[in-house]
Amino acid sequence: MKNQLVAISIFLVSVSTYAADLTVYTYDSFVSDWGPGPKLEKAFEAQCQCDLEFIASEDGVSILNRLRIEKAKTKADVILGIDDALIEVTRKEGLVQSHGMKLDGLKKELNWKDSDFVPFDYGYFSFVYDSSKIAKPPASLKALIESDASVIYQDPRTSTPGQGLMLWVKKVYGEQSPGAWAQLAQHTVTVTKGWWEAYSMFLEGGADYVLSYNTSPAYHVVTENKTQYRAALFEEGHIAQVEVAAITRTSSNKALAQQFLKFLISKEAQTIIPITNWMLPVIDGVELPPIFSELIIPKRIGFTPNEVAEQRTGWLKEWRSTAAR
């Protein structure tokens, strides 16, 4: 037993004290073996001659939560993976600083002017289904909520898709949202903490529909050669998600952080991201597999980041109370 203890203490003391040159907080699927993380890390490290470290949380909102806890003590130089809806919330907490970059190369349709946040990919929240099992998906969000088809979605408190659905319901139903949530709860299989859990459960046949992105079918075509997964197009329009990165206010290495953000919107990174994170590139002229041109292109609806910042807490409470019944 004594030897064991000695072994353990040596084990514990030998924990290395090294720190990376640039620390990036992101979400777990981004850094998984098949996500963009490892490839981006390799490409960027070759370019900067530095050491980049990703630290992952379960989902986008968790990154923000972690930063709020750590405040000035945070190790992060860059946060990567919150979305446009959370921009104002993050800014108001004083967690980020201006990127000081010119963003000319971005797609016109994004119409991006933010001085703190840099977009690195985007997509539209959509419900994904297996077309070999379901011939005719609902044509609207209302039809889905009123149906009895089984649904898996993510918790809006931790997950950006979950938050996207919250905004979607709010936009479509307005004051009637509590009723819609209660109705949806009747045929919800489970509400997961992160996107990955939900999507894997869906693939195992856990439900008819899963909340994901309009770009998800591309993954199945490109990597698995499976064509049966589709995203349902809803006539009310879809909430768009622009995933963004920013430099933390307390970063001690702003120059390197800027270099990383520049790299993120470079052609090199933008070629990696769509086929690993399965979202759309933010710059024009990126060569993509043909399936990307067949994806549904929904009408964009939503709230401004300011509206979200003001209402988010109240909406979350409303969701929580009605979905808990």
Partner: protein
């Protein structure tokens, strides 16, 4: 010795105090009591109580007939193995069970998420525990009672009412309370099988308030409610006395009434049914393995997590036993001196980690430390420390009765012989050895199964076996999850078996 005891007590309490300091010190405003009027709070409180009550009630009610079968039919095949299986079920790492149930539910296309799944898992873990307790109680019925009942020609119903019930009454109540508290504090199962806000418990809501919303006032309020309800109940339960369920006292064959006819067959078939039910989730792991893609499983990737899990478990078990033994020292003295009130208070203090929500303690400490040290680097140290503080109450509870017994029988003698320190320990050891070893095995297995604390403090670099299972199961890689679960379960079974062997006197 006495000083070591006070220091141990102080350390255990310090962890809780620092945790609450972390929570309170972080936000200027105190608990958010407006939540009392929030329907969300009413719903989760009602659900927490409902699931705990149902779990406790069903576990006890289902355990009772099985325990009777074991008692009435002492010659059924593999009775001892069944009792060992019951112990294994009670301490089974929750993620092994969850993996088994998820695979099983997939086989029969059953909706596991929500109240059903939670109840199923809770009953699976706690019913075997209740079986063991009831069985021990029934075995305590003196032969003379049965002989008398035969002379008086009591019928089945009368025997049940007059002889069996009085021997079970107090432990039934204790079990109800104890299982209620365990399920009320249940975390991993509710998180994994809850399936959304409509089946959330206070414990999970605390975690969500902190980790999802970062809403400290709300988490504080929920934590106080959790502490008041679970703590109050626990205090009541601990006054009812603790159950004897790890006993190794095997008396000679007692006289038992014969069971014949349809009753015999009913009992025998329910015995085999119980075997089947308890084995199903374990067998399901094989299904999960066969169905999945076996080529994806790599043994090498499991070696490091296994070693980490074992090391953490050994650390917690060794230190936990040492702390428990040390802190019982002053408490034993209070017991000998008849200071009941003081004793109950310090007993409660020594075991308070059972009721202070594990989540609050972990997250509170996390917040306290986050502003002071680099958690990504040192988190694993706190996984080990917090796990130790979680298993200490179990160790205290199991060691306490045996040590009191020692004091009652040999206390005066050893005092008059002026036995102290090492000499006293040498006398004590043979007396407490069986309980000591079984308790050691128990807390080792318990701490090896932790996910709650790891979920807060752990890091990828130090992934434990249960956490690996969580990751696999969370992303539905069931073959890998099943394989890792089997490995963990085999380890736990091996540990229990080895220690059970070590404590039985050599025949």
């Amino acid at each position: 010795m006495r000083v070591a005891g006070w220091i141990s007590l102080f350390m255990i309490v310090l962890i809780t105090v620092l945790a609450f300091q972390g929570l309170i010190g972080f936000s200027e405003s105190g608990p958010d009591w407006t939540l009392l009027n929030d329907s969300y709070f009413h719903n989760i409180l009602a659900f927490s109580l409902k699931q705990a009550l149902l779990s406790a009630f069903l576990s006890v009610v289902l355990a009772w007939p099985i325990a009777r079968v074991l008692y009435y039919l002492p010659h059924v095949p593999a009775l001892n193995s069944f009792l060992s299986l019951c112990l294994l079920c009670f301490v089974m790492p929750t993620l092994v069970l969850i993996t088994g149930l998820v695979v099983l539910a997939g086989q029969v296309e059953w909706r596991l998420y929500g109240l059903n799944g939670i109840l199923l898992a809770h009953i699976y873990l706690n019913m075997p525990f209740a079986i063991r307790v009831f069985y021990q109680q029934l075995k305590g019925i003196p032969d003379s009672s049965w002989k008398l009942s035969a002379q008086l020609k009591l019928n089945h119903w009368q025997r049940l009412r007059i002889i069996e019930w009085p021997s079970l009454k107090s432990s039934a109540l204790m079990l109800l309370g104890f299982i209620f508290v365990l399920c009320f504090n249940s975390f991993a199962i509710v998180l994994a099988l809850g399936g959304g806000p409509q089946s959330t418990t206070l414990e999970v809501a605390i975690y969500q308030a902190l980790k999802y919303d970062f809403n400290i006032p709300e988490a504080l309020m929920l934590a106080w409610v959790q502490l008041l309800i679970a703590g109050g109940l626990f205090l009541m339960v601990s006054r009812l006395g603790s159950a004897n369920w790890l006993s190794v006292d095997t008396a000679s064959d007692e006289w038992r009434p014969q069971v014949k006819g349809w009753r015999y067959w009913l009992m025998k078939s329910s015995y085999y049914l119980a075997w089947l039910v308890l084995l199903l989730p374990i067998l399901a792991l094989f299904f999960g393995l066969i169905q999945g893609d076996l080529s994806r499983i790599s043994l090498a990737s499991l070696i490091r997590p296994t070693l980490i899990t074992m090391s953490l478990g050994l650390f917690s078990a060794v230190i936990g036993m040492a702390l428990a033994y040390a802190m019982l020292n002053p408490i034993r003295q209070m017991n000998s001196l008849g200071q009941t009130r003081r004793r109950v208070f310090f007993e409660w203090l020594a075991t308070h980690a059972l009721v202070a929500p594990a989540m609050v303690v972990s997250v509170g400490l996390f917040i306290f430390l986050l502003q002071r040290i680099d958690i990504d680097r040192w988190g694993i140290v706190f996984v080990a420390l917090l796990n130790t503080s979680i298993v200490v109450p179990f160790a205290v509870q199991k060691l306490k009765p045996r040590l009191y017994q020692f004091d009652a029988q040999y206390g005066d003698l050893s005092r008059s012989l002026k036995l102290q320190g090492w000499a006293l320990l040498k006398i004590e050891w043979p007396f407490i050895q069986p309980v000591f070893l079984s308790t050691f095995a128990l807390i080792l297995v318990l701490s090896m199964g932790d996910v709650a604390i790891f979920s807060i403090f752990g890091s990828k670099e130090w992934t434990t076996l249960p956490w690996l299972i969580y990751e696999y199961a969370g992303t539905y890689r069931m073959a890998e999850a099943s394989f890792a679960s089997m490995l963990l379960l085999a380890l736990c079974a091996l540990i229990l078996w080895l220690f059970e062997k070590a404590q039985t006197p050599h025949a």
